[in-house]
């Protein structure tokens, strides 16, 4: 549910089998002695760079919406959310 993926009935067994193997495999990590090691957040231990809060991007809505499956009057169309 969290992943927002529908798995067809005939794919369930294979999916479960392979995911089980993957989870068993990564379970090897539980044996590692990590104590109070600081988790690694960035490969170079760099922090996130910030930039001035300025508008830098031009409006390219029409161009970007050319890739959209369904638009109308510059808006993205989706099924009705509120009945």
């Amino acid at each position: 549910m969290l992943a927002r993926l529908r798995i067809a009935d005939d794919e369930v067994a294979d999916t479960v089998d392979k995911l089980t193997r993957i989870v068993e495999f990564v379970d090897r990590l539980s044996q590692a002695a990590t104590g109070d090691v600081v988790p690694m957040a960035h490969p170079l231990n760099a922090s996130q760079r910030l930039r001035p809060d300025l508008v830098t991007e031009p409006d390219r809505r029409d161009e970007l919406q050319q890739n959209a499956p369904a638009v109308s009057d510059g808006l993205y169309l989706v099924p009705r959310v509120i009945e």
Binding site: R4, R6, V37, R80
Partner: protein, 491 residues
């Protein structure tokens, strides 16, 4: 034909640059030669998703006109291909997925923009594992790529289209991306050179994200000198990538000729354990002896947590992938399911139809390891082990300048051989994943043939040590001719 009488498709990038500057041939002629090779051989290899023949010839003509006007840029008019993970303005950018089968990128990736700015002619977009998730190119929506050395075998992955195209002399060079070995492993399996730079060295802007703390762009070429040439253009700070590093770009090509006399090369004890094919081990040991004969000193080092690197990666990478791929929802771009019952159905079916099996597995694994109750046991634990793995490298580099070993545990395997068990496939990347986890640069150089299949020598250095990797690789290539070997059907 050139002065030396070699057909144009057999030339390396550096040789093409020399020929263009001497006026031996035009960019149009060499571009045409590559397009002809692609037309003749790609149907059997499937290395390309899109060939941009008209655009390529127009770009070649523009380069020839500039040269006639006095422009002497080294890269001007050199042809190459881009992995289909890089956004290319006005050209389909699929990332090997049904999800993006009809996606036309509205902008250029920084890598594409910089290379085009230097005069590179793009020939097309190469096939790849879907969203770069795979080590064999079998997860592509467009079907597997075949290895030019044996078309029943995989060219490696995920940059398998790039590696096969370079190995078969369809193109002199191609970009790739490397999250766990996706440049170096396909390079090793096809007898080509693969360079993954330091994390942050090359901009990730416009490179479709898989695992953002691991992804790095690089190249697949026929020689180390060609990789140095391209890296010099691709590398450098980009404000559009928040993890791009602000550090000057050295002249990578300039230092290649320097001797490796006195270079301290580390050999990892754990690399030669039972998992390594005996033929590959032999080829790598011979390569190490060549380095020694050129003045390098070999020292044993330890990477005690090496066997934890693959499980660590398969927590960190899926976690980041599950987050990055949440943008594919069937609303703003990408595949959309027909007649959705409601918004939830639209999301679930668009993603179910748009993604292949391996991508789905990684999204689900990633969602699981990040979920409440499992986060500490998996994700946090993996980030701690990642720190240990990184520390192992740091300690090793206190004693040696770089580490050398095998790139891949076996030569190219048969298509279909490893698709039943994802874990077997994952273990292919045992020697390459550590460099991604620690953000280190890595280079794979052809170092032998086992039963007619190429083997790669893997060099890893400290952060920003690309120069010593390239110098070591180039000095090795001065002494050997493995990188000049060509599969029989593609001479």
């Amino acid at each position: 034909m050139t002065d030396a009488g070699s057909p144009l498709h057999t030339l390396t990038l550096t040789q093409i640059a020399d020929g263009l500057s001497r006026g031996d041939f035009s960019s149009r002629e060499v571009t045409r030669a590559c397009l002809d090779r692609i037309a003749a051989h790609d149907p059997a290899l499937n290395a390309f998703i899109t060939v941009t023949a008209d655009e390529a010839l127009a770009a070649a003509d523009a380069a020839d006109a500039k040269r006639a006007g006095g422009d002497t840029g080294v890269m001007l008019g050199l042809p190459m291909a881009h992995k289909d993970i890089f956004c290319t303005r006005g050209v389909k950018t699929s990332c090997g997925s049904r999800m993006l089968d009809d996606f036309v990128a509205p902008y250029d990736a920084t890598v594409v923009e910089r290379l085009a700015g230097a005069g590179i002619v793009m020939l097309g977009k190469t096939n790849m594992d879907e969203f770069a998730m795979g080590s064999s190119n079998e997860s592509s929506f467009y079907g597997p790529v075949r290895n030019p050395w044996d078309r029943e075998r995989s060219p490696g992955g995920s940059s398998g289209g790039s590696s096969a195209a370079v190995a078969a002399r369809l193109v002199p060079a191609a970009t790739g991306t490397d999250t766990g070995g996706s440049i170096r492993q396909p390079a090793a399996l096809t007898g080509t050179v693969g360079l993954k730079p330091t994390y942050g060295r090359v901009s990730r802007y416009g490179m479709i994200a898989f695992a953002s703390s691991l992804d790095q762009a690089g190249v697949i070429t026929r020689s180390v000198a060609d990789a140095a040439l391209l890296l010099g253009v691709m590398a450098g700070f980009d404000e559009r990538d928040s993890t791009s590093i602000e550090q000057p770009v050295p002249d990578y090509a300039a230092g290649l000729g320097e001797s490796i006399d006195g270079l301290k090369v580390g050999i990892v004890r754990q690399h030669f354990d039972a998992g390594l094919d005996a033929g590959c081990a032999g080829a790598v040991r011979e390569a190490l002896a060549v380095l020694e004969s050129r003045g390098a000193t070999l020292t044993e080092v330890d990477l005690p947590n090496l066997d934890l690197s693959v499980p660590t990666y398969y927590v960190v990478a899926p976690a980041e992938c599950s987050s990055n791929l949440s943008r594919f929802d069937g609303v703003r771009f990408g595949h959309r399911a027909e007649d959705p019952a409601d918004l939830f159905d639209l999301y679930c079916r668009s993603r179910a139809e748009g993604f292949g099996a391996e991508v789905k597995r990684r999204i689900m694994t990633g969602t699981y390891v990040l979920s409440a109750g499992y986060y500490d046991a998996y994700y946090l634990k993996a980030q701690q082990v990642r720190q240990l793995i990184s520390d192992d490298f740091r300690q090793a580099f206190e004693h040696v300048d770089l580490i050398a070993g095998p790139t891949s545990p076996t030569p190219a395997f048969r298509l279909g051989d490893k698709t039943d068990d994802p874990v077997t496939m994952y273990l292919n990347d045992i020697y390459t994943i550590g460099a991604n986890l620690a953000g280190l640069p890595g280079l794979s150089v052809p170092c032998g043939l086992v039963d007619g299949l190429p083997v790669g020598l893997h060099l890893v250095g400290p952060h920003f040590a690309e120069q010593s990797l390239l110098r070591c690789g180039h000095q090795y290539q001065l002494e050997t001719d493995w990188h000049r070997r060509c599969p029989n059907d593609y001479r």
